[in-house]
Symmetry: C2
C-alpha cells in the first residue's frame, strides 16, 4: 500500500465565522502536495481589534511550505473567502489561482489593487470541467448562496473524492444562477465520497431554508404600498436580491437608482459577466434628483450600518444630493451580523428622527439566509453518503453541533478547528498534528501578528488613558528641573482643585528628589519608579491607573 | 384660571434604553416644584465609551434648580433606574428618596457605598398609600416586571392625574409579587388620567407578552432530562426566575448552589424583605464540591457575558473549585441585550470546546421578557383612556412607534426625547423648552462630561496608536541632541528594515535641524511642525497617522 496520505488543514474559518482558509494535501507525510481553498478575511471591531483594517489567517505554515502549493481555489467572491488573497499572494509564492468567472473578475481587480499579478487568476467553467493541480483534480460544483457563481469543490485524489461545499444553501429557485439539483449532487456522490467538508454556519436553524424567490412578492407588496421614496439596502454582492429589489421598484413604476460604489460595481460586474440579465434600467443619481420622490427606488450600500456606506451617510443628512424625509421608507433586506447591532440601531434611530419608516427583515419576510439550515444539511448528508463528515466554516459550537448531527446518522466526524491537521486517508478522520495557527492583522500598510502586543497596548490606552513623563538628568546624574507630564484620554481635573498634570508633576518631583544616586544612574530604575509613582498619583486623584510612558533624557558631558 | 403649569422633562431614558431619569414639575412657569422619577445608569462599551465605568444623565439643570426638588421616587431596583441615585444624590442637594421595600433595601446599600445618607431613603407601601411631595401626591402602583416590587407611579397634581408606568408587563401569574389586576388599573383610571407616561421598550414585539409562569414547565423538563451538572444563568435581579430555576433543580433531585455575588445578594435580599418565600434550600459552594455533578443545579451570574461574572469565569476554567465538563448543561434563561452578543458568543464557544451543551432562550421557551409588548400597550391605553399618551423609556424609534400607536387610537401624543420640556397642562402635550441634556460619565472616581473630549482621545489612541516625542532645546534656542521617540500601540517595524522609532527619530532630527530661529523660539510652533512630521513619517512607514504628543523641554540659563 502507498505511504501517501490525504490531509485536511483548516487555517481560518474553523472556529469562527469568517476568514476561511483551508488546505488539502496529498503525498508522503510532510511532503504532501498542497492546494489552498479560499483565502478570506474577518473584520475587526473596537472590542478586540481597534485600529486594525483586516484580519487574515496566519499563513506562516503555508509560507514555509510554499514550494508544495499547487494552486489556490476560490469558491466565491465574498470577502471572508476571497479578501485575503491579494494580501497574502506574494507570501505564498505567487500561486496560480482558479475561480469561476464572476469570482475571478473580483479576484483580478483585487490583485491589481495590491500589486499582485491578475493574470495568475484563471477562469474555470463549472463541473464537469476539471482543473489538474498536482495529485488533485478539482471541479467547481455550482451551489446557491447569496452571491453569484458560488461553488462547492469536487476534489478527486488518489485516496478518494472530497466534496468541499463552500458556503451554500439548497435553493431550487435562486433567481440567479443554477438551481439546486439533487440529481447533480447524486451524480457527484455516485463514485463514493470519502469526506464531505461542509458549511456549518446555520446548523442551529431548525427549519429548512427558504428560497430566494419567496422574498420577491413580499418586497413587491411593500414597495407598491409605499407613499414616499423607498431606499432598500442589502449586501451589494447579493445580486439576486438586487434584482428582486430593482424589479419590485420597476413594477411599482419607480426609477431605480444605485447608491454606493459597491452597489454600482456589483451590478456592472453582474451585467458584464452575463449573470445579471434583464436588470431594470438604472437612473444615475444626478437625474434622480429631478424625479418625484414617490417615483424613486434607491438601492443603497450599508445594510450592516457601515459608517461610510450610503445608508449611514443618508442617516446623517444629504448624500450625493439625495436625502430622506418624513414618509419615506427604508428597507433592510438583510440580517444584522452579530456585532453590528449597535451601528444598525443608531442608523435606525437617526432615520426615526427624520420621520422615515424603517422595515427590517421582520422574521424572514424580506430576507432569506444564504446558508443551509439543519434539515438542509441533513438532506445533503443523505444525498452524499460520505464516509466522513468534516464540519467546516463555523464557530466551535457550530462545528460541534454539526459533528453531532453527522454522528447521529453514523457518519464518522471530528471537530477540526484551525491548526488541526486531519488525516483523511483511513476510515475515520484522525488528528495527526497541531500546526501553529492564528491571526494576522493588516494594520495600515503593515501586517502584524495578533499576539505582537500592539493591539493590546491600544486597548489599554483606550481603557486607562495615557500619561507621558519627560525627565532630564544632567551630566552629574542629577535631575535637571521638574518632571514634565502630559496626559491623553484622562480627565483634566480629579479630586483636587489643581489640574491632574500639576498634581502628578508635583508628586513625581518629590519622588525624583528622593531618588538615590544608584537609581539616578540607571534609566530603567528611574522609569520603573516614576511609572509606579505616576500610577499611584493618578489612582489617588482620579481613581484610575493609566498607562505610563517615561522618557529619560541625559545631558552628556562635552 | 391658575397660571400654574404641569411639566414633564425627560433627562435620560427618552431616546435610549437605559439611564432613566424623568422630572415632573408643577407651579408657575420657571418656578415649578419638582419631583424626580428614577435616576438610572447606562453601561459603557468599547465602541463609544472605552474605559468609562458608568453613564448617567447630565443633571446640570436639576442641580441648578435643586431648591425646587421635593423628592425622588424610584420605581424599581434595576440599575437603569436606580444606578445613578447614589452618585448624583449630593449634586441634587440631598433630596428625600421614596421607594418600596425591596427597592429601598438596594438603594440604601448603594447610598452607603457612596457615602450618601441611607436614612434619606424611605420605604413606602403600595397604592393606595400616598406620599405628599409639594404639589404632588404620589402612590406606588404594583406592576409585574423582571425584578420584585416594580411599580408604576400614580402622580396626582392640581392639573390632573399622571400615570407613569415605569417598566412593566401585564402578567396575571408573575410567580412573585402582585399579579396584573385590570380592576386595580381601572380603579386608578376612573378619576380620569391626564397623561399616561408609558414604557415603550417592547413596542416592536407584535404578540402579547407571555407570563413568567410559562417558562417553569419547560425549564423543569430540560433540567430533568439533563445528565450532568446544570448551570443556569439569568439576571440575578430576576428573583422570580431564580425561584423557577431553583425549584426545577430541586424537583429534579438536585442541590441548588448560588454562584456569584449578585446572585447570593439578591436571594438574601428577597428572603429578608419577605418577597422570596419557599425558596429551595441552598447549598454553599464549598459543600457542592462533594456532591456528584448530576445532583447539582448552579445558578450563576453572567447571562450577558460579563467578563468577571461566574459564567465567564467557568468558561475560562475553575471558579471557586467548580468547573464544567463534557456532558454538562449551561442554560441561558435570558435574552442577550444588543451589544453584548460577542461576549456571550465567545463564552458559548469556550464551553463548546469543553463539550458543554448550551441551551439559550430558544425563541422564548426558557425566557420571557419583562416588558409590555404592543398588544399589551394597546390594552393599557384602552384601560387607562388617558387624555394624552407620552411614550417613555425607549430609543427614538420605539418612542415614535408608540406615539403612532396612540395617535391611531385618537390619543394626543408626542415624541418627547431627553431635554424636551413638555407642558401637560392643556389638551395636548406641548413642547415648551429645550433643556441642555446629555451624558455624564463616571470614570474611575471622576465625573466627566460626554463632550469633554477625554473619551474621544482614548478612541483615537485605540484606532491610531500613539507616538511620544521628547525634544530638548538649550539656553540658546538650539536643539540639544536628537529627538527621542517612544511608541505605544504601533507596530515595531514598518516597510523599512529599521525600527519605526528609529525611522521617525531620523526624520524628526532632519526637521529639527532645518528649523529656523523663529520657530525654535516658540514651543507651539516646534510642537506643530514635529507633530505633522511624525505623522507624515509614520504614514509613509506603516500607512497610519498616529496621535502624537510632543514634549519640548527648555534648559534655562542659570
Amino acid at each position: 500500500m502507498s505511504r501517501d496520505r490525504l490531509i485536511y488543514l483548516p487555517l481560518g474559518g474553523a472556529g469562527e465565522i469568517g476568514m476561511n482558509t483551508y488546505v488539502y494535501g496529498y503525498g508522503p507525510k510532510g511532503k504532501e502536495r498542497l492546494i489552498v481553498v479560499d483565502i478570506g478575511v474577518a473584520f475587526p471591531d473596537m472590542d478586540s481589534t481597534p485600529g486594525v483594517d483586516l484580519i487574515m489567517a496566519d499563513v506562516t505554515w503555508l509560507e514555509e511550505n510554499k514550494e508544495r502549493i499547487e494552486a489556490v481555489f476560490i469558491t466565491h467572491a465574498h470577502e471572508d473567502h476571497i479578501g485575503g488573497l491579494s494580501h497574502l499572494w506574494h507570501q505564498l509564492g505567487h500561486p496560480v489561482v482558479y475561480a469561476r468567472a464572476f469570482t475571478a473578475h473580483h479576484a483580478r481587480r483585487k490583485m491589481e489593487e495590491q500589486g499582485a499579478d491578475p493574470q495568475e487568476v484563471h477562469t474555470v467553467s463549472p463541473y464537469p470541467e476539471v482543473v489538474e493541480a498536482g495529485p488533485f483534480a478539482v471541479s467547481f460544483m455550482p451551489v446557491a448562496h447569496s452571491i453569484p457563481e458560488s461553488s462547492g469543490l469536487v476534489i478527486d485524489t488518489p485516496a478518494g473524492r472530497i466534496v468541499h461545499t463552500g458556503d451554500f444553501k439548497l435553493d431550487e429557485t435562486p433567481i440567479i444562477g443554477e438551481p439546486f439539483s439533487p440529481e447533480l449532487w447524486a451524480e457527484i456522490a455516485k463514485p463514493g465520497v470519502k469526506a464531505l467538508v461542509c458549511d456549518s454556519t446555520n446548523v442551529f436553524s431548525p427549519k429548512a431554508g427558504r428560497s430566494e424567490k419567496t422574498v420577491g412578492p413580499e418586497i413587491e407588496r411593500l414597495v407598491k404600498e409605499a407613499k414616499g421614496m423607498v431606499v432598500a439596502t442589502t449586501f451589494a454582492s447579493n445580486v439576486a436580491r438586487l434584482k428582486t429589489l430593482a424589479e419590485a421598484g420597476h413594477r411599482a413604476g419607480r426609477s431605480v437608482v444605485l447608491l454606493g460604489r459597491a452597489m454600482r460595481r456589483m451590478v456592472t460586474a453582474g451585467v458584464e459577466t452575463g449573470i445579471l440579465k434583464d436588470f431594470p434600467t438604472v437612473v444615475p443619481v444626478e437625474e434622480a434628483r429631478d424625479i418625484p420622490r414617490e417615483n424613486l427606488m434607491l438601492l443603497a450600500t450599508g445594510s450592516q450600518g457601515e459608517r461610510r456606506a450610503a445608508v449611514a451617510q443618508l442617516s446623517r443628512g444629504k448624500y450625493l444630493g439625495m436625502s430622506m424625509k418624513e414618509g419615506d421608507l427604508l428597507l433592510f433586506s438583510s440580517k444584522t451580523i452579530p456585532g453590528n447591532e449597535r451601528g444598525v440601531i443608531n442608523i435606525m434611530n437617526a432615520f426615526s428622527e427624520m420621520g422615515v419608516d424603517i422595515v427590517d427583515d421582520d422574521g424572514g419576510l424580506y430576507h432569506v439566509s444564504g446558508h443551509a439550515n439543519r434539515p438542509d444539511l441533513e438532506r445533503v448528508h443523505e444525498i452524499m453518503q460520505p464516509q466522513m463528515l468534516i464540519p467546516m466554516h463555523g464557530e466551535h459550537r457550530h462545528l460541534r453541533q454539526h459533528a453531532k448531527l453527522g454522528e447521529q446518522k453514523g457518519l464518522a466526524s471530528v471537530v477540526a478547528v484551525n491548526g488541526m491537521m486531519i488525516n483523511l486517508s483511513g476510515n475515520r478522520p484522525e488528528v495527526v498534528e497541531y500546526i501553529d495557527s492564528g491571526r494576522t492583522y493588516l494594520d495600515g500598510s503593515v501586517k502584524i501578528g495578533a499576539l505582537d502586543g500592539v493591539v493590546r497596548e491600544r486597548i489599554r490606552m483606550a481603557l486607562n488613558g495615557h500619561i507621558m513623563v519627560s525627565i532630564i538628568i544632567d551630566e552629574e546624574d542629577s535631575p535637571l528641573g521638574d518632571p514634565w507630564v502630559e496626559i491623553m484620554g484622562l480627565p483634566r481635573f480629579g479630586r483636587s482643585s489643581a489640574e491632574l498634570v500639576d498634581v502628578v508633576e508635583t508628586d513625581l518631583g518629590h519622588v525624583l528628589m528622593r531618588m538615590d544616586a544608584k537609581t539616578l544612574a540607571d534609566d530603567d530604575k528611574i522609569e520603573d519608579q516614576i511609572r509606579k509613582a505616576a500610577r499611584r498619583s493618578a489612582q489617588d486623584e482620579i481613581g484610575k491607573k493609566p498607562e505610563v510612558t517615561v522618557v529619560v533624557s541625559r545631558l552628556l558631558e562635552n
